[in-house]
């Protein structure tokens, strides 16, 4: 694995908003088929880093390499086109819309009738049925609104969507923060399944225990600095918590 360029490499990323330095010279990488836990306290810069990677805003300085190539990601759509899918905590799905409309939002299959293009409703429903039964969610119809799904089911559907559309990198923003214990386990299982299928995953969370059970490596951010990076065999969950709790100290070589 070493020697090979990782899937994502972010080098020397800095970003400030006005006078606030949100990120300072952060290096970050995720290997192929690896679950990377991105952890740190509130305001550590986790979401800023992810928003740069997903094209929500550009970095002030720094470079991003994806599959070994230097890339400029200028919008969420460009990130998606590269194969970077993000599942945001509250923004995974739109509750009032049907499951199948959500699943295909922005990428709906169409049938052509002359110059007109209509949604290929049959294909949409068929695919959604398949994915739902794979995940193990029972609903009467793909036309059901997302509002009838539980929080865990929503996260799973959003992850299933990323897998279905051939994502290479899946970014999960606090996927378990609002879930019950049982639902959390389901989602964690599903994350491992996505990894088995060849995806790399960035798992952002406050809950070290959740991420610890599935991650291969951890990156710890604190006040916009990267303070540590560990493989799982180098560190225990308690040690990670301790590092976050003790706060940032100037790195000593």
């Amino acid at each position: 694995m070493s020697g090979r360029e990782p899937l994502v490499r972010m080098v020397n990323i800095s970003k400030s908003f006005g006078t606030v330095q949100a990120l300072k010279d952060v290096d970050f990488e995720v290997g192929y088929q690896e679950v990377m836990g991105l952890v740190g306290d509130n305001g550590a810069g986790k979401s800023t880093l992810i928003k740069i990677l997903t094209g929500v805003f550009p970095p002030d300085t720094g470079e991003i390499y994806f599959e070994g190539r230097r890339v400029d990601i200028r919008s969420p759509k460009e990130a998606r086109d590269l194969g970077i899918e993000t599942v945001y905590q509250d923004l995974a799905l739109i509750p009032l819309m049907s499951i199948s409309r959500n699943f295909f939002l922005g990428r709906e299959p169409v049938v052509r009738m002359g110059p007109l293009r209509f949604l290929d409703k049959r294909r949409m429903d068929l695919t959604v049925r398949e994915v739902l039964s794979e995940i193990g969610i029972k609903v009467r119809s793909p036309d059901e609104p997302v509002a009838v799904l539980s929080g865990g089911e929503r996260q799973s559907v959003a992850i299933g969507r990323a897998v279905h559309f051939g994502a290479k990198l899946l970014i999960l923003d606090e996927p378990t923060s609002a879930l019950s214990v049982r639902e959390t386990h389901k989602v964690l299982d599903y994350i491992l399944e996505a990894k088995e299928r060849g995806l790399s995953i960035i798992f952002i969370t406050h809950n070290i225990y959740h991420v610890y059970s599935v991650a291969d490596r951890f990156t710890i951010l604190e006040h916009g600095h990267k303070v540590a990076e560990f493989r799982k065999d180098e560190v225990s969950a308690e040690e990670i918590i301790e590092i976050i709790r003790s706060g940032y100290r100037e790195p000593e070589e």
Binding site: T54, P76, T86, L91, R101, G106, E108, S141
Partner: protein, 336 residues
């Protein structure tokens, strides 16, 4: 085995309600449909001439002009924005159509100019809302007052009439009579409703409209160009208001600068009766169709039933509140 059947039989009523709830989840227009049926039956008994073709035609005439405006409003509301300026836009468009007709322009040219002006106003509304992020309620409230003021200033407050010796073809196409008292405006209305509903339910753009109103931020991170959607919908809303203005002018052959005053609220009321959410993300045009028919029936039914016309507003107000209460409860129940 016998026990099983017995249990099955006991469970059948809740099962029916369950299926109904599932159906209801995808049909927010049910409340308006039920209301329309109830009011229809009510007037059939109380208003003597209600069930005649002429009476149906007069309901459709009212419903068509309101409905074309309300269709645009519905589209815009589903994407999460308001347009209070449609009444003024209707007035401006009607006035442009009247002035150009009077000045001897070809009617088609005057009509196109009126629609282009409406589109311009809609575009301006959209640009202001998407660029500044000021709530559309405020932006279009300003637009409503501004364009009404312009209308009054330009005309000096006087109405403009245009009485051609014979009915121009354009006027017939917009609002001519056929089959007795029926008017072509009803065809515009039904055509627009069906077309917009097709766009909403069966196209990618429709999906983007729902997503934009359902959760703008989520739609954006999923790659929907939410600002573009809103901009387009502001233009649709204004153009349809302008069209309704031209249609109305073709009927009255006269327009005063207060034309369309208060119409915006009636159009929003019809959409809301039809199950469109004020907060966006849900609704459809079938609901608005019934909402508009309901309002139209109340307007002509009350008069026919012998009630003074003043009761109309009170009645519509009552219907709006009752409809929203019913719609909200139905929605809540269906999702349980």
């Amino acid at each position: 085995m016998g026990q099983k059947t017995a249990a099955g039989r006991v469970k059948s009523p809740p099962r029916f309600f369950h299926l109904f709830a599932l159906w209801l989840r995808q049909h927010p227009e049910f409340g308006a449909f039920a209301g329309t049926v109830i009011v229809f039956i009510g007037f059939s008994f109380t208003a003597t001439r209600f069930l005649t073709a002429d009476s149906m035609a007069s309901i459709l005439t009212v419903a068509a002009e309101l409905g074309i405006v309300s269709a645009g409003i519905t589209f815009l509301m589903i994407s999460g924005e308001f347009d209070l300026s449609v009444g003024s836009v209707l007035g401006v468009a009607a006035m442009i159509f009247a002035m150009t007709s009077k000045a001897g322009w070809p009617h088609l040219a005057g009509w196109v100019l009126a629609l282009l002006a409406s589109a311009g106003i809609g575009l301006l509304n959209g640009i202001i809302v998407t660029r500044t992020r000021i709530p559309s309620f405020i932006t279009t409230l300003g637009a409503m007052m501004f364009w009404r003021g312009i209308l009054l200033a330009v005309t000096g407050g006087f109405p403009i009439s245009y009485f051609p010796r014979e009915m121009p073809l354009m006027f017939f196409a917009l609002n001519g009579r056929f089959a007795g008292q029926f008017r072509t405006s009803a065809l515009w209305f039904l055509g627009i409703m069906l077309l917009l509903n097709l766009v909403l339910v069966r196209t990618r753009y429709g999906n983007a409209v729902y997503a934009t109103g359902g959760n703008r931020e989520a739609a954006r991170v999923l790659g929907v160009a939410t600002d573009k959607v809103k901009l387009i919908n502001f233009v649709i809303s204004a153009v349809l208001a302008g069209l309704a203005g031209c249609i109305q002018f073709s009927r009255f052959l006269s327009v005063d600068p207060m034309r369309g005053l208060g119409l915006e609220l009636e159009a929003i009321a019809a959409a809301v009766i039809g199950g469109t959410l004020l907060t966006g993300g849900a609704g459809n045009l079938i609901g608005t169709l019934f909402g508009v028919l309901l309002v139209g029936m109340v307007r002509s039914g009350l008069v026919q039933a012998g009630a003074p016309a003043y009761w109309y507003q009170a009645f519509v107000g009552l219907i709006v509140v009752v409809a929203v209460i019913v719609n909200t409860n139905l929605r809540r129940w269906a999702l349980k």
